[in-house]
Amino acid sequence: MTYLVDIEAFHGPLDLLLFLIEKNELDIYDIPIAFITDQYLQYLQTTGEFDLEKMGEFLIMTTYLLNLKSRLLLPRTNPSQSEDEEEQIDPREELVQKLLEYRRYKEAGQQLQQRELGLTERVYYRQAKGEPDRDEVLVVDLAALVRAYRNVMRRLPVPEPEAIIPEGDVNVSDKMMEILEILVQQKGKISFRQLFANISRRREGLALFLALLELIRLQKVKAQQNSPWEDIQLEMW
């Protein structure tokens, strides 16, 4: 039976990954990438509705994991590496560091909460009430005012689409064609984020993503990321 996972319960892809690692009692320093990637994808596939902005973050992690998985599977191709330079950096190292760092602050946040609730020994300040009136000086900053205005303007709601098109099933092979067409228009190159920029529906986003994975598998499209967490560049082979 399919069940729905509330992805909103996870505060981002790192949180989900940590959850999976703990749930499966894995060693964070020796993560079985293939296994964790499968689990991660499974979670995303069984998720309920969630907002697009957040999905983007989860998808970027997906591509990162898949990339990591393939790097671990592929034999070393660099012939210039001499035999005794065995001690290469584990490609997982960066992910491990990320997870550890994230976990540290996640725990620190929980500790703060414990303190607030008085579950950890703490001191209490006086809750200043009924003070003799203290003079108040308003500290202002013109730059902050201008920034505030820009903020408001940037957040202006995007007009809703006039009509809601019923959600037909999006075809992955159509999407594959679409990606290839876009790539041709863009002279063979587009970034991952640009490709997903105009996606407004979740199913469409997933179809596009699956189509992209398929194209990569068929070696029609090449995905390259210069450094982890950076936008991924897509190119035609």
Partner: protein
């Protein structure tokens, strides 16, 4: 044990900084009311000593910790002006009014997407914005603008002095 209870009462009265009811103290400390009264008598006496700047006062069947009145003069000297900043919500609203004045509350709410009644009341109280007229549409809504005080505070000689916004 009695020392412990006294210390706890002291801590509670201090933290709360306002009258705490005898009934509430009884409940928090889990002691009989008579015992509380007895302890409070003792505690009040201890605070009465010279060398103490605080006092505990019985108020309305409760207790309040405050400073002794002898020290009001020295306390007045120690009052530091509090530096306050506008909240983000207030800042955004003020920015909108500054750049778009005259503007009605409904127009602001439409742009910011939230109610701004309280924020605007606060800005008015601080003398940063004021009513400047009514808009000539149905319902004659009030138009708001910034004040002289706004200019003074931000060091502007006139509204033309507001930094230009680059077009986006």
């Amino acid at each position: 044990m009695r020392d412990e209870i006294k210390a706890a009462i002291e801590a509670i009265l201090f933290m709360r900084g306002e009258r705490v009811g005898a009934d509430e103290l009884v409940e928090i400390l889990d002691i009989p009311l008579l015992e509380l009264r007895d302890i409070m008598r003792e505690l009040i006496g201890e605070y009465y000593q010279p060398g103490r700047g605080l006092q505990i006062m019985p108020v309305d069947d409760g207790y309040l910790m405050c400073t002794k009145s002898e020290y009001s003069e020295i306390l007045a000297r120690s009052v530091q002006p509090v530096k306050r900043r506008l909240s983000q919500a207030a800042l955004e609203t003020l920015a909108l009014i500054a750049y778009r004045q005259p503007i009605t509350r409904a127009e602001i709410e439409k742009i910011r997407g939230v109610k701004v009644e309280r924020v605007m009341a606060n800005l008015m109280e601080r003398g940063l914005i004021e009513e400047v007229g009514v808009k000539d549409v149905v319902g004659k809504p009030i138009l708001y603008g910034t004040t002289q005080e706004f200019l003074r505070l931000y060091g502007l000689t006139s509204l033309k002095d507001l930094p230009p916004l680059e077009e986006e």
